[in-house]
């Protein structure tokens, strides 16, 4: 019984706390910049307001434009069922995919939103779609390599197994392969979520925005779903980053409800740490010029590559 409950709890945690995470980040950035900033509950207010409104859809838009928010949201919900968020043992649905499969589901969401952006033939949408696809084409090889670094350390690409391996031995934790993978993955978290130095999440100049310009055409309920999905993405990637790479300890046991609740608290605490790192980067770096982004992602790729070749000599657990 309890695994099923935990499974539901895990997805609910993602759904419910993702807006909060985004709100806290926005507030923290504002405070560091000596502004007052919006309330940390602002995302919930936004969602409530948008969900109540009707939406205006261009008459040139096809069905893709309509279904894209739903596909994106359900993709992230799917991912939330398979990765370790609150428990250290696989939950019933975790057999669906490993980390690489999870990455495919994530990119499905990105793909459908890019398609929707093109669908309305709005110039800014096309611009955003092309930029995100370009960034994605650079980020995804690096992402796959990062998964290989964890796989090289733990001899598995199952996130739970990786979590166990790294949590189990401090020696494994300080392996160059693992640390390089950690850095590379953090850079990718920033890139995938359109944070500084890739993109400015609070930017409002259409010509320079990347992520946001894809969804300018959305309004009302659909826009709410899209926003929610993107907050979930940030939450999910941060949680994977913390649970698999940085602090693999403190997850709850999968057999008791209490374990699940403890895991929930743990993951929220870890997100505070991750959020602090993101806020520091957000406030101390400038956004990169567009063509420097390739170098940023290239560096991430390089870290992961060196990590993998190092594992070839130093070895993971097997050696």
């Amino acid at each position: 019984m309890s695994p099923v409950v935990l499974q539901i709890l895990q997805s609910t945690v993602v759904l419910v706390f993702a807006p909060l995470y985004a709100g806290v980040l926005a507030r923290a950035v504002a405070i560091v910049q000596s502004k007052h900033g919006p309330s940390i509950l602002q995302p919930y207010h936004d969602l409530a307001k948008l969900l109540r409104k009707g939406s205006a859809i261009s008459e040139n838009a096809s069905w893709i434009f309509r279904i894209a928010p739903f596909v994106a949201l359900s993709s992230y919900l799917t991912v939330s069922t398979i990765v370790p968020i609150i428990t250290d043992e696989p939950l019933p649905l975790a057999f669906l995919a490993d980390l690489i499969g999870g990455a495919f589901v994530l990119s499905l969401a990105g793909f459908i939103i890019a398609l929707a952006a093109l669908d309305t033939a709005s110039p800014l949408g096309g611009l955003g779609a092309s930029r995100t696809t370009w960034i994605g084409s650079l980020a995804e090889p690096a992402l796959i390599l990062v998964f290989f670094t964890v796989a090289a350390v733990s001899r598995s690409d199952n996130p739970y197994f990786e979590n166990h391996t790294i949590a189990g031995s401090i020696t494994t934790y300080v392996l160059p392969t693992h640390l390089l993978g950690l850095v590379a993955f953090f850079m990718l978290v920033l890139a995938e979520n359109g944070r500084i130095p890739i993109d400015n999440p609070s930017g409002s100049i259409e010509i320079s925005m990347i992520e946001e310009s894809r969804v300018l055409e959305y309004s009302g309920r659909e826009y709410a779903l899209i926003k929610w999905a993107s907050w979930m993405k940030l939450f999910l990637l941060s949680a994977i980053f913390m649970n698999v790479f940085v602090i693999p300890w403190g997850l709850g046991h999968a057999d008791t409800i209490l374990g699940g609740l403890q895991g929930t608290l743990a993951v929220l605490a870890k997100l505070v740490i991750c959020g602090t790192a993101i806020v520091i980067i957000d406030t101390s770096f400038a956004k990169l010029r567009l063509f420097r982004i390739a170098e940023f992602l290239g560096a991430s790729f390089l870290f992961a590559l060196i990590g993998i070749v190092t594992s070839y000599v130093v070895g993971g657990v097997g050696k």
């Binding site: 300080v174 390089l302 870290f303 590559l305 070749v309 070839y312």
Partner: protein, 220 residues
């Protein structure tokens, strides 16, 4: 357990040295070249000290101190003072290959260095194994720095990085090198740097540039 953690630390230091080589390869500012080289040398001296601690060898301690003083402080300060500032070098424009391309070539060279060293042929009992291929990678990358950069100062720094790579390999692979040889290698390095510094400033004097692509008197 102690040995193991020392080995892990050595692995990490060597990875840091490799990353700094990449940083140098991916940079365009002379200040940065020298800074990265200095940092790399300081990390190298830490690595030597680690091996010295592990083996309890006094000559390696001496080498670590010398590395720190000469490579970590002396050469960077001299290079900064006599080359970068006096020749007013700021941004390196004489790079034959784009940064991204040379980074990709560098990545390929790194991978090559790893696969050229078959780990099963490495002897057991080494403090750590990864510095061996890493040092080869640093040697290759330093060579790449020398090839893609046309400025003589940049080439000089590339050569210094190559030397660091060799030292890294030497302390792990053959930490027990006879002292006279170690001392000789170090002496050669210092003499080489001094002579090269003289040449670079001589060339700068004569040609009013340190850009080796301007060196085309000898094309036939």
């Amino acid at each position: 357990m102690i040995t193991l953690s020392e080995g892990v630390l050595l692995d990490l230091l060597s990875v840091a040295i490799l990353l700094l080589t990449f940083a140098c390869l991916g940079s365009k500012l002379f200040d940065r070249y020298v800074a990265y080289y200095a940092l790399q040398s300081i990390i190298l001296s830490a690595a030597i000290a680690l091996v010295a601690h592990h083996l309890g060898a006094w000559d390696l301690w001496a080498l670590a101190v010398l590395t720190f003083l000469i490579k970590g402080i002396g050469i960077p300060v001299i290079a900064r003072h006599y080359l970068i500032i006096r020749l007013e070098l700021k941004r390196d424009v004489a790079i034959s290959t784009g940064i991204s391309t040379s980074l990709i070539i560098g990545a390929v060279l790194t991978a090559f260095a790893y696969f050229a060293i078959n780990p099963s042929t490495l002897p057991s009992g080494l403090l750590a194994t990864s510095p061996v291929p890493l040092s080869n990678a640093v040697v290759l990358l330093g060579g790449l720095c020398m090839v893609v950069r046309r400025n003589t100062v940049a080439q000089l720094i590339g050569w210094l990085i190559v030397e660091n790579g060799v030292f890294l390999g030497a302390i792990t692979l053959v930490a027990t090198f006879p002292f006279i040889v170690e001392a000789g290698i170090f002496l050669d390095l210092v003499a080489g740097v001094l002579i090269m510094l003289t040449f670079v400033s001589g060339l700068a004097h004569r040609l009013a540039t340190t850009d080796a692509s301007e060196l085309r008197e000898l094309r036939e």
